[in-house]
Subunit: 224 residues, 2 copies
Amino acid sequence: MITLHHLEYSQSFRILWLLEELGVEYELRLYERDKETHLAPPEYKELSPLGSAPVITDGDLVLAESSAIVDYILDQHPNEQLRPSPGNPDRTRYLFWFHTSQGSMMSLMLMEAVFQILIARVPFWMRGLIRGVLNEASNRLIKPRMQKLLELAEEDLEEQPWFGGDELSAADIMLCYPMESAKSRGYITPKHDNCNDWLDRVFHHPSYQAARKKDGKDSIVLKV
Amino acid sequence: MITLHHLEYSQSFRILWLLEELGVEYELRLYERDKETHLAPPEYKELSPLGSAPVITDGDLVLAESSAIVDYILDQHPNEQLRPSPGNPDRTRYLFWFHTSQGSMMSLMLMEAVFQILIARVPFWMRGLIRGVLNEASNRLIKPRMQKLLELAEEDLEEQPWFGGDELSAADIMLCYPMESAKSRGYITPKHDNCNDWLDRVFHHPSYQAARKKDGKDSIVLKV
């Protein structure tokens, strides 16, 4: 049986949602971040091969990396809706968005988070200068790429309600974290109708709600 | 037939290698970066849904995102060695490294690249200050995670010569770009014996050599 080591306010929420959606048996262990540094506790860092969330254990196996964990779980519990196979008409759309979650959107949101942490942590006397440089970098390097991604999301969600097609898939489950980050950081604005509708659809999905209940927090993303 | 739009010194080299390894027919279009800004040319940005490399076209389909393209091509040309199926003993190792390429290693190397670009581009009078802040950020946020990743790579490559197991797989093809970046940025040092051996093994692989010949450049990564 899989044990999910879930760190609060982290990317591991998605694995919790996937397991709830599949309705399979699993063990859940909850870990809290340090109240001041917001870092994972030492026992989590020691457990995780990458020092970060998520991590699952399954017998002797310890596995990190969100997309790898999703594929590993879906190998054990094959589900054509959650992960369309080769030949399925939804396959290419699914592949694009499933991989874009970590390959593009999460990596941009991570960079944005690092910039904001740097601005907040430098001594006060240099904060204005650092803010100027990093905000300009964000405007040139992060914003245009995020805007392009969100335009593409608007187009695809205009055609079908979920990132993988007409039904919820693992692409949506993966994207809930970077999309929620994009919303909380002001990248998703009220003009992104379809992205906002999608976030609303996610929020009201029964298995998402069940996962939120087990998570017990006010938000899935860390708001620093 | 697939057309690969290959931008020099970019992540699209990996798609070129995959196509050469599969030995399938494809069309290759080469694009050069702007000599001064190193940016992709406008026609590439217009073609790419994400404004970045790689992109393939296949009839009406335009597909971006490296890992999605790799899965798309392997759907058309199934290959158990290059992408072990569920149930294959190499499957979990493959999944971890295939996804870690974009999910962790590439995103850390991208952040490192952005930091170095920022240091190089700020006005001279503030360069020392910015260098101090960003180098410290790199030391705290990028280096420990990259070192953990490379330690893990050392361990896994001690057991088997390729990231997916005993033979070359798409995990290796994906990782050639961030691993080459890690080498050129000094993250892979002479003490990383197994990573250096792996890079050497990659370099001498016949299909890698064939891809390098079609690419025609002195390096696969952009050295700025």
